[in-house]
Structure formats: C-alpha cells, structure tokens
Amino acid sequence: MAPPSVKQHVFAPWNDPDAKPLIRIEGVSKSFGDFSAVNKVDLDIYPGEFFSLLGASGCGKTTLLRMLAGFEIPSEGSISIDGVDMTDIPPYERPVNMMFQSYALFPHMTVEQNVAFGLKQDRMPKARIAERVKAVLDLVQMSSLAARKPQQLSGGQRQRVALARCLAKEPKVLLLDEPLAALDKKLREQTQLELVNIQDRVGITFVMVTHDQEEAMTMSARIGVMNAGSIEQVGTPVEIYEYPATTFVADFIGTANMFDGVVALDEQSHTVVDCQELDARLVVGHSSGVAVGAPVTVMVRPEKMMVQREPPEERVNCAHGVVSDIAYLGDISIYHVRLASGRKVQVALTNLRHTSEQRLTWDDEVYLTWHPANSLVLVQ
C-alpha cells in the first residue's frame, strides 16, 4: 500500500485546462449526397489516450475515423493533429496509421514484407528496417512466423500482423476500425487486454471504433458515444455508465429502467419527481436544474434495485409488480418484473448462494426499491 501522502497519478488530461489536445476535431460534418453521416462533431483527444468511438452501425463512427485517416474529406469543419491542419494533407502524408477491420494485409507479401512496407516508403536504410520489423514482431509475438504469407495465418495471427504493420511506423495516432470484430469471443477478450498493454508500452494515442460496449469499456480511457452522426456524450467508462447524459446513452450502455414523470421539487441536494406510472414519488439524490412541472425521466440500473416481498412503509422510490421472466446467467440472475402498467422492469441480483432462502420465482409479487443516490434524472 502506498502511503497516503503520495498522491497517485491519475491519467486524466481532459480535466487539465492546460493540457494540449493531440487531435482537435472542430465542427466536422460529412454528408454523402443527401445522407448526413457525421453532423457537427467537436472532439479533443489527448496524447497517450485510448479513445473509443462507440455506436451502433451506421452512426457515423467509421466515417469519422476515415476522416482522421484522410480517406474521407470533411464537408465542413476542420481536423488538426498535433497542431497541424489536416484538411489538405493526403493519407500518405498524415502522421497516423490505421488498422483495418479486414486487416488489409498484402496477400502477395510475407509477414515481414507487410510490416516493412510502411518503413520502405520512408526510404529508411535496410538495416534499420530489419531492426524495426523485428522489434514490432517481437512486441506482438509474431517473430517465428515472419516468413509466412497472410493466408497461412489464423485470424488472431493476422490481427497481430496488422497491428505490427501500423506500429512499425511509430505514428502519432493509431486508428483502429473494429480491430477485434473478426475474432471469436475468448480470443477477443484476451486480445483486448493485450492491446491495452501494448498501447501502454508504446505510448501511442489509440482511437478505436467499436460497436461492442463491453470492449469499449474494458479498453478505453474515454468513450465517445455516437448516435445518428453526432456525439451524445464523451466520458470515462464510469461516467457514461453511472451518469449518462441522455436517455440514448443510458439505454445504449448497459440496461436502464426509465420512468417518466414531472418535477415536483428541485433542491440543491435532491430532486423529487412525481411518477404516475409507478404511483409513487421518486427522490433522486442530485439537483436536476429544471423548473418544477417540467417532464423528466428517472433512470435506475437493474443492479441498483433491491427486491422485497413486503410493501415498503412509504411509496417512495418504489415499484410494484409480478416476476414474469427469469434469466439465470450463472453469476447473476436477471428478473423481469411486470408493472401494473404492463411495462417490464429489469432487476439484476447476484447469485450469492446456490439456493437462496428468499429465492424468487415466476408470478411472485415483489416490491422494487432503490436509494436516491443510485438513480439519475435525465432531462428530455
């Protein structure tokens, strides 16, 4: 244990007003004909950061990444990397390298030649190229297969070669387009941490595009959640899960139970919301900053709810319903509770024992309660 006097260093340059961003995206839009793929995006990414763009397919995350690489030119706005405006700089002169979803390894070259390709373009002396190729192949543990052709490698091995090829040029920014999508689940989980370790060792800024929220949360320092061409929220994994800024983010990241209501009272320390659907008052442990009478949504995560069989003394932060579905996942069980309104609410309970004394089963009548600090007001 570190003595309390030594303050542990936390990597959070986005909180430091003096920190200079490496990538600055300002008012960038991109449209293809009538279709607007990216819409007025502002984003700063800091040196050494592992940043993820997370969103469903077609949300514009890949288009944004391709604009960073230079394969697409913004219709509006500007992108600068390390203080240099990238608008007129072609892909082959940008200080970024991209790892493609398909890996795009050259099929007519060996692993070694693939990795050396970028270095040869820089007219680096042969001896230094060989040295560098060996170093990055060692880093991704592919040295023993250097003489193979890509089609003789497995999916995981190709992924490593693709990574090595990007790292070889020591770019300022590494762009990763769904880098793990082609791997099976076990290998993907293993590779996630490996990729983070490599990023930590080489110190290059990574910008990753993914549709997999678990992947984004495991790997990233910060995540930008995208929806319909815009960034809905930028934050650390904890921030976007615990404090989603919009109902979209709340719903997209994890599972969210949301109750609509109107503000009855708004104070510095808490907000009271009248919820007709639950026939209850909902007390939320923070100020919502909106006027009394305004419509809002209260969000509670399934694992933050408690279940009891007896009605609570007050109808505050309480929902009443019947267990309609149970999903047993081993470590936890998800109970779907049908409310009087017919809507279903999800509750996650940790399976602490093989058989709990209070084990719930189908058609049990239950009351769900939660602590004011564990819910959140979302302004519509």
């Binding site: 690489a69 072609p90 970028g118």
Partner: protein, 320 residues
Amino acid sequence: MTNGLPLRPPHPQAPKMRASGGLRAFSRRWGRALVGLPPYAWLALFFLIPFLIVLKISFSETQAAVPPYQPLIGWAEDAVLQIRLNLGNYRYLFEDELYFDAYLNSLKIAGLSTLCCLLIGYPMAYAIARAPRTIRTPLLMLVVLPFWTSFLIRVYAWMGILKNEGLLNAFLLWTGLIDQPLQMLETDFAVYVGIVYSYLPFMVLPLYATLEKMDLSLLEAAADLGCRPFRAFRSVTLPLSIPGMIAGSMLVFIPAVGEFVIPDLLGGPDTLMIGRVLWSEFFDNRDWPVASAVAVAMLVLLVAPIMIFQHTQNKSGETS
C-alpha cells in the same frame, strides 16, 4: 381416362421408398461420373482422335492418290504386318529453313501482339473495373460487342481502312500529314493491327476479372502506410493482377501463333507465319504428311512450354 395411361394400383409405401432409395444410391455412385463424362467425350472425339490421325499422317509418305499418303500399316506378305514410320517429314522441317523461320516469325508476331494487347488492354480493364458499378456492365458489353459481327467481316473492314485508297490514308492525306498514300495493307503492320484488334477482348476480360475482385482496402492500407498512388499501383495492384495478365496473355498468344486468316488477308507475300505455311503445304502442295508434321511440331512447341509453366505454377501455388 383420357390420357390413356394404365391405372396402376396404389403401391404400398415401403417398396416405393426402396425403389427410389436404390435410384438415389445409383445416382450418387454414377451421377458424378456421368456429369463429368460429356466434356471428356467431347475432347476425345474432337481433339484427341483428330490429333492422333494427324500424328499418323505425319509419319507417312506422300503419294499421288486418294488419300494423298501411303498407309502406315500394311501387309508385306501373307501374315507379316508391316508398319512404316517415315521420319523424313520431320527431318525435312529441319532441313528447309522456311519452316524454322516461319515458326520464329509466328512466335515474334504473336509475342509482340500479346505485348500490345497487354499495354492497351490493361488500362481498359483497369478503367472498367474502377468505373461506377452502374456503367461497368455497359462498358463490358462494348468490349464484347464486336463478337456479334463475323470475324471475317471485321478483318475485311480493316482491309477497307488500311488499303492505299482506304479510310485511314484518305484521312491522313486530308490532314496534310502525308502527301503520298502509305503502304499499310499487305505489311506486317497490318497483321499486328489485325491480331491486336481481334484478340483484345480476350486480354481485357480476364484482366477485368482480377482487377474487379481486388480488395480496395489494400490500396487504402498502402496509402495509409505512406505510399503515393503511383507506387501503390506498382507495388500492390500490379503484382496482384499477374494471374489476370498471364491468363489474358495465354488467350491471345496461343491462337495468335497459329493464326491464318489475318496474315493471309492483311499480310504481304513475305509475311511468314506458320499457319500460312501449313495452309499452302496442305492445299497448294497437297503434301499432307509434311503439313501434318508442321502441325504436330507447332503443337509440341506451344504445348510443352505451357505445360511446364502450369506445372511450376501449381507447385508454387501449393507451397504458398
């Protein structure tokens, strides 16, 4: 019953199933062989057997008779079977320089024509493969369209274009670039024009096929790694289109070596090609055995290198 078919009593289920099961087993065992048979039968009937006949004739001697060669197999006396293999026709090919020159010239004309087809066909195929998807099919149609007119008519059309009072000379005279008509017809130049024109589609189509299926993200990867567009073409697109270049070159080179119509109609009297030599041996000299020997020699000269090439290709394909 109007169809006149005899009414059959309904079969019990089991025997019927056994019958169809037997048919299925039969088709499983022999179906594959039956499907594969027609092409082999076709090749045997129209390629292998005629070739064996030509081979046989090439070992016989001429005689003024019908057919104009002596039989290979005959009875010398009673019960003595005699096979006379005359190698003289082949020796003759080596003795007379005409044949060697004709072979060499055929290879030269076919080789240069193939090169021209490649140089013209590659940009065409590349442009079509990179054109917007909606206009690719019309463009390919345009490449294939000439086949809808008879080959012979198209060659005659070139005669009309290239002759001294033809379209091209008229145009050049009109522009004032020349004041005398150029002798183009009945030269090697006309033969090259004819072969390149006629065989260009055979180069464009396989090249298009390879270029079209190329993964374009490879070019993006090359650009991303610092490669300028022209270098990316040289180090990625070009090597990956080699299979198409080889296929197209084979399709042009092989028929061009044995080409007869184009050198006969467009070439001059001194345009020496093996196809023409063969023709004159056969129809003018009526020397079937020598003509057959020429044909067999041409086949060996062409097929042997191609088979060696394919063999090495397969080998390198297995190891990579």
